[in-house]
């Protein structure tokens, strides 16, 4: 049972939102003992306190190199260009209906949002925010966006994450499906065409949603995605699957 899915505690969550954001601002490895159990009911609201377990980017990612990458053993794509989170406050993920997401995902937040393939370190302006693209390889099959944001001392809740990667194929690969899992909702485009929407208050599950049959064309393909989350740990995992369910691996992945 998590407070972030608990309606009656949402007011409490709201009142703490500022504090939660502050939590993401890493302040060092200070270990505070959790308070003793309170006899009776729930403990009272927690006072802002230092992060006990600071996040280091190196625990979850390595910088992407100029060398090409390949999908991992299970076909997961680990190389991504990730944009620092765009602020999109939401008290709860229960608002992530299809129509809400259409509006949230189709809104133009930054220039060339649906076409750009950025360079590592390139910046974009979103309202008053100046956000940077990071070329990274995930150490895990999934891309832990929460840790990405926390390590960069950015907001971790109430956020939108944009991700993009380049897939090079030696030949046309027909009848493949994009398979994605995300926490929470997400949308994915292949070569500019919307191919998958994961809606609702959703946790990341491998092979949660699959696209219709697609063709990965010979040469360069651009896969772009956006993940939205209110409270909770954001992440995603993406791979392509053949008709028989096996992972597509005869491709290379790069960020330039």
């Amino acid at each position: 049972m998590s407070i972030f899915h608990h309606k009656k505690w949402l007011i409490l969550g709201l009142s703490l939102l500022t504090g939660i954001y502050a939590e993401a601002q890493q302040t060092g490895a200070v270990t505070n003992r959790a308070p003793n159990p309170t006899p009776g009911m729930m403990p009272g609201p927690r006072q802002p306190q230092p992060i006990q377990t600071p996040t280091y980017l190196a625990d979850y990612f390595v910088p992407a190199t100029k060398d090409v990458s390949v999908p991992d053993e299970k076909g997961f794509i680990r190389r991504w260009m990730l944009l620092e989170p765009i602020s999109k406050p939401n008290r709860s993920n229960t608002v992530f209906t299809d129509s809400y997401l259409k509006q949230a995902f189709d809104t133009l937040y930054f220039k060339n949002q649906f076409t750009v393939f950025p360079k590592d370190g390139e910046k974009v302006k979103v309202g008053k925010q100046k956000l940077t693209w990071h070329a990274l390889d995930s150490k895990l099959y999934n891309v832990k966006l929460y840790r990405f944001a926390a390590a960069l001392k950015k907001p971790v809740y109430g956020v939108l994450f944009w991700a993009v990667t380049i897939i090079d194929c030696p030949e046309d690969i027909e009848n493949v499906r994009l398979s994605a899992g995300s926490n929470s909702a997400s949308k994915w485009w292949l070569n500019g065409e919307e191919v998958l929407l994961l809606s609702g208050d959703r946790r990341m599950v491998v092979d949660d949603c699959l696209s219709r049959r697609l063709t990965l064309k010979k040469g360069r393909n651009i896969l772009r995605g956006v993940v939205i989350n209110g409270p909770g740990m954001s992440d995603f995992c993406v791979r392509f699957l053949n008709e028989n369910g096996t992972p597509v691996k005869n491709m290379t992945i790069s960020n330039q």
């Binding site: 049972m1 403990p43 491998v206």
Partner: protein, 485 residues
């Protein structure tokens, strides 16, 4: 009676019939709880503890009310009986409580769960697991398993905030086994627990959105492993560390948000699962305790059906024949058609035989009961309705079983046979306990067999002969099915 009145009465009867055929029962009393612990039986009573402290007590497993006591508050406890003592695990921090995820799982003992007992005293809580504020775990939602194969004690805990973890505890002290390291076994769950059956360990977790009343999408899923420490794999081969999980139960029957699974083995072949519904629409959307049969299919746990009142054929699993009154078979009008010859006559559906067609041929007193070929005749159709005021058993009320359209009731006799008495009186021998078994068939037992304290069940001693006997899960003689046909 005017035509209008008759029409109204007929309409009302039809409506009642529809209502009865659809009615299932939640627990009665005040079964309001969130995150119930595994049900414990202690000195003839049943107990479950919930979030926020306290819990429910039931004397029969059907009527639940507040009164159980658990100090420490916090969220989502679990309980296990070890020897003569009860071990409770709970967390009073973490889970976002107070805005953070620094959690501590604690255990404490009690010799009894009856707060009125002079022996009722919890030991000082001991921390057995914890999570720091921002690590990939959230140390709440404890689940306990005493491994029946070797007596080792395991604790699972965690929420959506990172991993579900397992640690080993000392079953003598309830403390963490010294040097034991936590093992990550799942993501995307909370409210986990473990169980063991036939060489498999099962990790049950709750997916979906908690605590959102009628909109809660909470649902219970499961993965299994040959080792208690995992990997826990679902039915399509997906690791629960990848978010895998096979559904056990989701919303239904005007109730949303099932979560916090607990298993209770009543007897060989009779198992129950306890959980909560986040919102019972028929109880104002309150969070309630739920208990239903736990079935096993192909090595996977499956939520059984809460018994639905209605009119049924009661089919013997032994031969497939149906329970019926031992009365004359009344032949219906009509004859065989020469199907190879063309018949120019318009087709007219046959009418079903009605109670009025045959009841005059039945004796007025007790009528013996036998098992025969099912022909959907009135003497084979049994209307089964709950008798809530008669109490119940773990997960269900007692039922009366009468011939449709009559008050003629199935009853146990003092010589351990069955008979249909002319009038249902509510006597214990006319009240029946119905448990869905782990294979999906049913056990049917009278509340009381006159003159004995033995617990006997309805059995098929021959293809055509019912009687009362000891229940045997390994015999189809002991099993029955209900069909609406």
């Amino acid at each position: 009676m005017t035509m209008k009145t008759r029409a109204i009465l007929l309409g009302a009867t039809a409506l009642m019939s529809v209502l009865i055929s659809q009615r299932t029962f939640a627990q009665i009393g005040t079964p309001y709880i969130h995150d119930p612990s595994t049900i414990m039986e202690c000195e003839g009573k049943y107990y479950t503890f919930g979030t926020g402290g306290g819990g429910l007590i039931s004397e029969d497993g059907w009527n639940w009310n507040g009164g159980a006591e658990r100090p420490g508050g916090g969220a989502a406890p679990d309980a296990v009986k070890i020897g003569d003592r009860y071990l409770i695990a709970y967390s009073a921090t973490g889970g976002g409580l107070g805005g953070g995820h620094a959690g501590r799982v604690l255990t404490m003992w009690n010799n009894t769960l009856d707060p009125k007992s002079p022996d009722f005293k919890f030991t000082e809580p001991i921390e057995v697991a914890h999570s720091l504020d921002d690590e990939d775990c959230d140390a709440i939602d404890a689940g306990l398993l005493l491994d029946p194969t070797d007596g080792r004690l395991w604790l699972s805990y965690g929420t959506y905030f990172g991993f579900i973890r397992i640690v080993e505890l000392d079953p003598k002290t309830g403390k963490r086994v010294e040097g034991n390291k936590e093992i990550n076994v799942a993501i995307d769950c909370e409210a986990t627990t473990l169980m063991y059956r036939d060489g498999w360990y099962y990790l049950l977790g709750t997916h979906g959105t908690c605590c959102d009343g009628p909109n809660s999408t909470y649902n219970i899923v499961v993965g299994r492993s040959r080792s208690v420490t995992g990997p826990y794999i679902d039915n399509v081969g997906r690791d629960m560390l990848e978010g895998g999980g096979k559904l056990v139960i989701a919303a239904g029957e005007r109730k949303t948000g099932p979560g916090h699974f607990g298993r209770f083995v009543v007897a060989d072949g009779v198992e129950k699962m306890s959980y909560h519904y986040e919102a019972d629409f028929d109880q104002g959307g309150r969070s309630v305790l739920a208990i239903r049969p736990l079935l096993w299919k192909n090595g996977w746990p499956v939520a059984g059906e809460a018994f639905k009142e209605g009119t049924y054929e009661i089919e013997s699993e032994r031969r497939g024949y149906a329970l019926e009154l031992a009365v004359d078979f009344v032949r219906m009008q009509g004859s065989m058609h020469r199907f190879w010859e063309k018949d120019a006559q318009p087709m007219t559906p046959l009418k079903s035989q009605t109670l009025e067609d045959v009841i005059g041929t039945w004796p007025k007193g007790d009528i013996n009961v036998r098992i025969g070929d099912y022909m959907f005749r009135p003497h084979q159709k049994w209307t089964i309705t709950a008798v809530p005021e008669a109490g119940g058993y773990l997960g269900g009320p007692y039922y009366k079983i009468v011939i449709e359209g009559t008050n003629r009731a199935l009853a146990a006799t003092a010589d351990a046979e069955v008979v249909a008495v002319p009038q249902f009186t509510g006597a214990p021998e006319q009240l029946w306990r119905i448990d869905q078994l782990t294979d999906g068939t049913y056990r049917i037992m009278p509340k009381k067999v006159p003159g004995t304290d033995k617990e006997l069940a309805l059995v098929s001693v021959g293809d055509s002969t019912p009687t009362l006997g000891l229940f045997d899960m390994n015999s189809d003689n002991s099993k029955w099915n209900f069909h609406d046909r």
